[in-house]
Symmetry: C2
Subunit: 204 residues, 2 copies
């Protein structure tokens, strides 16, 4: 099947959403934890994480800001901190449930029965059940006026991974960590290694 710009514009809204959201390929899946100034916990499903650089360690996410300040975006701007937690097959259904539109002030941790965990001075809750955990400090945001979304860039200030998933060269073995990947808005997968290749050089 082929679609041009005109074809895409004529598609039914949900059909187009499913198509565009899934055709980009497998995505990183994270549970993003924040805390409001009132101390309420928030946990949201994110699949827009992207790597920006390793030194300084920077990453991005795409957020659709809402009016109420007590949500992921408002909490990040208030506390400057957020956590990113990998999802395991044992709780991917709970992770999906965190994408439901709970009212402000309701803790998704409580609603889906996941455990908030606090580490060091980080002002956002981690997911206790996750094996790979990251925390970020807000750096900058860029508004995408074309569709009212915002790219939030953060600096990685904390990382945690199981010792048995850390390889000699610093790489994380995501297969061993049982990290879940997702596609579209509702589909979850695990992965199997094809190969880890040597640094690509020009063959003379």
């Amino acid at each position: 099947m082929r679609w041009t710009t005109k074809d895409l514009a004529s598609l039914e809204r949900r059909y187009r959403g499913n198509l565009i959201n899934s055709i980009g390929g497998y995505k990183s899946l994270h549970l993003l934890g924040t805390m409001s100034p009132q101390g309420n916990h928030n946990l949201a499903t994110f699949s827009s994480y992207f790597h920006i650089g390793a030194d300084p360690a920077l990453c991005g996410i795409v957020i659709r800001p809402a009016e109420n300040a007590e949500n992921t975006f408002g909490n990040i701007l208030n506390t400057k901190h957020y956590t990113l937690n990998h999802v395991l097959p044992s709780f991917y259904e709970k992770a999906h449930q965190c994408s439901a539109k709970y009212p402000a002030g309701v803790s998704e941790f409580e609603a889906v029965a996941l455990t908030p965990q606090f580490i060091n001075e980080i002002k956002a809750p981690f997911v206790g059940e996750s094996r790979i955990k990251m925390a970020c400090e807000f750096v900058q945001k860029t508004d995408i006026v074309l569709n009212d979304t915002t790219i939030v860039i953060g600096r990685i200030i904390y990382l945690e991974a199981p010792d048995d998933c850390l390889m000699e060269d610093g790489s994380i073995d995501l297969n061993a960590a049982e990290t879940v990947t997702c596609s579209g808005l509702d589909t979850y997968h695990v992965a199997r290694l094809l190969g880890k290749l040597p640094y690509a050089k020009i063959v003379k």
Copy 2:
């Protein structure tokens, strides 16, 4: 293992690169095709694709601009077009080889033996061997001054996917398409379905 900001700063450069690049989770993998004003073809390995929205259909990639204008970034700014092509297990080693630093003017298509393909009026080559193909028109760019990278946002103007991978709701079955996902800078995977879940609603 746990790393704080201070720990990350003290890591050996390549070790830190491998760690930060892989700990974010599985990434979308694309071969990005462009053409120079001179008509030279360029094909580059990208793992920073992220979804921004479906209406209009927008996506982002992260680029490290180089000085020479005849590269991915220069070509996108010149022609305004680029293609994104999924990688199959049958040619993931060729896709990795496209990350080697070939001189400007050298076609990675020729160097790794992949087939440039032109469709409609799109001024960039697709990968003939790919089953899922996308083309984008340049929309805007945002410089990340902290590490000299640039986020390039494009509007999707063409999509192609095999009929047997298109589901009733518009979703693409990436397992059936045999789309390859990657982690870090050098590791490639295929995925297996855990589950496709219904829209998450609040349980009363």
